[in-house]
């Protein structure tokens, strides 16, 4: 044991830590570039977000250091207990949460605010890893699969109740982890198919979509024509999938939008994907209701974000020269739309480098996972990679108009203590577990 402890710091994964340091540094610099004014006399201004981010970074590193010093068995041993406490806190938050922009996902003590939903990811990951790595868990059994799904989705439901949709969606990423651990391939296809269908139904014109779906079905049918000839079940599956898609997009959605949903609900749905409500769903006002035609705020955000990123060009406008990001044109600049600062100031080259850093980090984490003897660590590593991936993909996609605007932060870069701290803890626990990869942890 003594030899292990002596070389503990040497056993930490240098690449992950290096990428982590790169990302948090980029984050602080990006927030600085958004907030810095030429009139500022000093760099150290406590009322600025970048200084607070630096302080949070300090806390994160401190917590990380403690985690490194903790025994690696602690995380698996206390995984369920921590998860239970976390669920309790989430339940409390629903009732005791501070109202921030309509969501009650924050716990407030004095001026200190804290979002349990962000931190719950850590404990959910640990709990899921623990459950799936238990010897008695046979993940081929349907019952265990449901338990796994329950562990992943319970926090999501609680967070949904706190009206923080974006954060709740993150928990669906655990299905990717469970897929790695043995869920059937169909899950992946059905999942992607459903997401694609919902988005395309809202985004694309109905007739066009019907043609596309039919075309796609015929294409698939042509490719697998031999299978179709041989198996009647395959024919049924293909045709029923086509039927479901058509019914969903052509009949169910219009019916629900026209007859079930209220005007404000329709508006909210379309504002989430950042486009205008189509005319056919535009409900007329009652004569007395003289509500102002309000510009869709998400649409505005995405437009401003696209302007900022699009105006960056190939090489960007240069550091501290971002006219859009510096002058508050993009709302939520420091948090959800921080990527604009990179896109505007460093252009395509800078954005690409950032994306490559992220992908490197995630692939490295998968690599760490796969080199483990311990299932617990491997599953945990996949959890970390998938959470990062979801945040990264959705956040950047929404700034460039590829995904609906849901309030999700860019890991390590977005301003925000809860976010930075929880991602740091995720990474440091992983690094700690990886350091003990020779030891079998259950």
């Amino acid at each position: 044991m003594s030899t292990l402890r002596k070389s503990l710091f040497n056993r930490l994964d240098g690449i992950v830590l290096l990428l982590y340091i790169m990302l948090v540094t980029i984050g602080v610099l990006a927030i600085f570039s958004v907030e810095h004014r030429t009139t500022d006399t000093s760099l150290i201004m406590m009322n600025k977000s970048y200084m607070r981010q630096v302080i949070w970074l300090g806390y994160s590193l401190f917590v990380g250091f403690i985690i490194i010093l903790t025994d690696s068995k602690f995380f698996s041993s206390f995984a369920f207990l921590l998860y239970t406490i976390c669920i309790a806190v989430l339940i409390i938050t629903i009732f005791a949460g501070v109202d921030v922009k309509g969501s009650r996902s924050w716990l407030g003590v004095g001026s200190f605010r804290f979002q349990p939903g962000e931190v719950a990811k850590i404990f959910t990951s640990l709990a899921l890893a623990k459950f799936l790595s238990l010897n008695e868990t046979n993940f081929k059994k349907l019952k265990n699969r449901f338990i796994g799904a329950a562990i992943a989705l319970t926090p999501a439901v609680l967070i949904l109740l706190q009206k923080e949709t974006g954060l709740a969606l993150v928990y669906f990423t655990f299905f990717l982890v469970m897929y790695r651990e043995g869920l059937p391939n169909a899950i992946l296809l059905i999942g992607f198919g459903a997401v694609a269908l919902v988005l395309t139904t809202l985004l694309i014109d109905r007739t066009t979509l019907a043609i596309i779906l039919t075309g796609l079905t015929l294409l698939i049918g042509y490719i697998v024509r031999n299978t179709l000839k041989r198996k009647i079940g395959a024919r049924i599956i293909l045709i029923s999938a086509w039927m479901v898609s058509i019914i969903f997009s052509q009949i169910a959605v219009p019916f629900v939008f026209k007859n079930v949903l209220q005007k404000h609900q329709i508006e909210r749905i379309y504002s989430m994907i950042g486009i205008e409500v189509p005319n056919e769903y535009n409900k007329t006002f009652a004569p007395g209701d003289e509500k102002k035609e309000k510009t869709n705020s998400s649409e505005y955000n995405v437009l401003q974000s696209k302007i900022a990123i699009g105006s960056g060009g190939m090489f960007g406008k240069g550091y501290l020269n971002g006219t859009s990001t510096k002058n508050q044109f993009v709302p939520e600049q420091n948090t959800d739309f921080i990527f604009c600062a990179v896109g505007e100031q460093f252009g395509f080259v800078g954005s690409a480098i950032l994306i490559i850093i992220y992908i490197s980090l995630m692939l490295r984490i998968i690599h760490l996972g796969e080199r483990q003897r311990s299932d617990f660590t491997r599953i945990y590593a996949y959890c970390v990679a998938c959470i990062l991936f979801f945040h990264f993909a959705v956040n950047i996609s929404m700034t460039i108009g590829l995904a609906p605007v849901i309030g999700i932060t860019l890991p390590f870069i977005s301003y925000g203590g809860s976010s930075l701290l929880s991602f740091s803890i995720l990474i440091f626990i992983l690094v700690r577990l990886d350091a003990d990869r020779q030891v079998l942890i259950r």
């Binding site: 696209k306 002058n327 994306i355 460039i400």
Partner: protein, 676 residues
Amino acid sequence: MSLTANPRRYVISIIFIGVAIIMLLRLFFLQNFEPKYKILANDIAIYKKVVYPPRGVIIDRKGRTLLSNTPIYDLMITPKNVPKTLDTNELCASLNIDKATYESILGKVLVRNLDVRQSPFMELLNEEQTARFQENAYKFPGFELIERNIRIYEKPIAGLMLGYIGEVSPEMLKKPRYATYRQGDYTGLSGLELQYEEVLRGQRGVHYLERDKFNRPRDPYRGGELDSQEISGKQLELYLDMELQEYAEKLMANKIGSIVAIDPKTGGILAMVSSPTYDPNLLRGKARSRNYAKLYREATRPLFNRATQAMYPPGSTIKPFTGLVALNVGAITPNYGYPCHGGYGGCSRKIACEHSDAGHAANFRAALAHSCNSYFCHIFRMTVDNNEGQTVKQGLQLWHDYYTSFAYGRQTGIDIPYEGKGLVPDSNLYNKMYNRSWNSCTIVFVGMGQGELLLTPLQMANGMCIIANKGYYYTPHFVKSIGKNEKDTLLRKYQEKHVVLNIPDTTFTIVQQAMQDVVDHGTAGGAKIEGITVCAKTGTAENKAVVNGEVIKMQNHSMFVAFAPRENPRIAIAVAIENSGYGATWAAPIASLVMEKYLKDSVTYKRKAVEDKMMNAKLINRYVYTIDSVIRLRDQMVYEAKVERKRKKDSINNAETNALYNKWINYKLKSKKGIN
């Protein structure tokens, strides 16, 4: 699930990489092939600010400020950028105007200008309006405050000479001179402000600033590398002495006339008064057009610069020059005398002379000292009739050449616009007037400064410079240096010495001696200054006014010209006071006081009584108002007749158009009925 490679690892990795590639592709096209975002980003974030530099300051010879600036704000509007949802009530409240005014101003702006161009909405906001607008500026996109400097005249003096500024009119903008101006810019409209517009104006600067979402300008865009810096207008230093000018204006209070004082050594104008004067601060800012109209209507015509534009018969003040030419062409010698007994009978009409005692015109000196009309009429005739074989026309031409070289009958070229030429008659004029049958007797009055000869006070003062300098002058001018540079190209022409037709110094000495006698024991005793040799000549100019086609003889103009000290001339002066009497009574003491003030810095206590008398004298005749109203009435009638003619013509045209229109309307109505 062991250490062997799991294929799902690669599925997940490929999902990660695939999504990243989609994002990279999207970014690549967004950032490199959609230039509209670049344009949009510049549109929303860059703000072009035009900075008007302060206009050049005008200071006097001792560095005292005559004309300077103070900042004021104009509210500009770019109608296209004004959103339809603008809270006009709030805007009106912060500007303290009502909604009808807002609408009418907006209408005017739209009529005058395209809606994409920035144009003035409200000008010269007061402090309260500025403060209240600035507080809420972010609520009013499309509106913008622009700082400007307004002119401040330190003392209410020299208004006509300094001039004033005003907005460039649409007509002016069409001229090439105003090519660099934009609507709403200010430009000099008269006086030095107009003459030196280019140097006073400076150069407008354009600053590109970043602005934020609330339309508040912030940091310079790209560190200000695209900015053009504004260049301040240059300072004008004048020869004018502020104190002297003020003193001279006080002396001329309640009189119609003018004073021009020039430094003979440089041609610099020390004081220039055109009375009655006005407070130049009336002609700035919002009140300009109203006050201008008021001043324009005044009978005494304060906007008329009598010093450079009014043309008077010089009267006896021309006699030194009559003598000078006569002596130089050899018509007379200094010892030449004329037996005057109270009149000149050389021609058919007798010309009266003030003096009748024998020997008052025994020689040139005595004749000038006593201002003998007979003597100077006679020597003028001798000048033009001089030498046998020379016709009177040739003689007059020679005389005309001399006078032209004295800058009489032509513009001196002073650096304020609209200078009068005066009139020096030549044979062409007389041929026209007298149908070619004239001789030296016909034009004899010119010798004593009457008849057709007309001079501006500026020319008279300049004439004094020539005698003081013994034969040369510098073009009279106000500006000593531009931006502390005395060698500015604009000033080059004023530093050129103009030498008059070759007249030897001795001849000038004789004339100077005679002019000294005028003060020492002649007509201008009241112009004496203790300890200073003054050379002068009084004048009493007969004049007539034409009212309703009738020629009325008016009270004489009181004229006086002088320079001092004789040994080392430092000031040359001409004073003209309209319709007030003898030159010795009013013009001479006033000129003398101004000279004393300049040469000695103050007027001796002994002359206090004279000073008071001059300052308090009210010499504006009642009939000035009568004549003025008659003239204005006539102008009015002429104008109304013109308008009436136009109206008749228009109404005939309109009637034709209306008839056509009615026909069309009826036709339309009928056809509509048919359908129903």
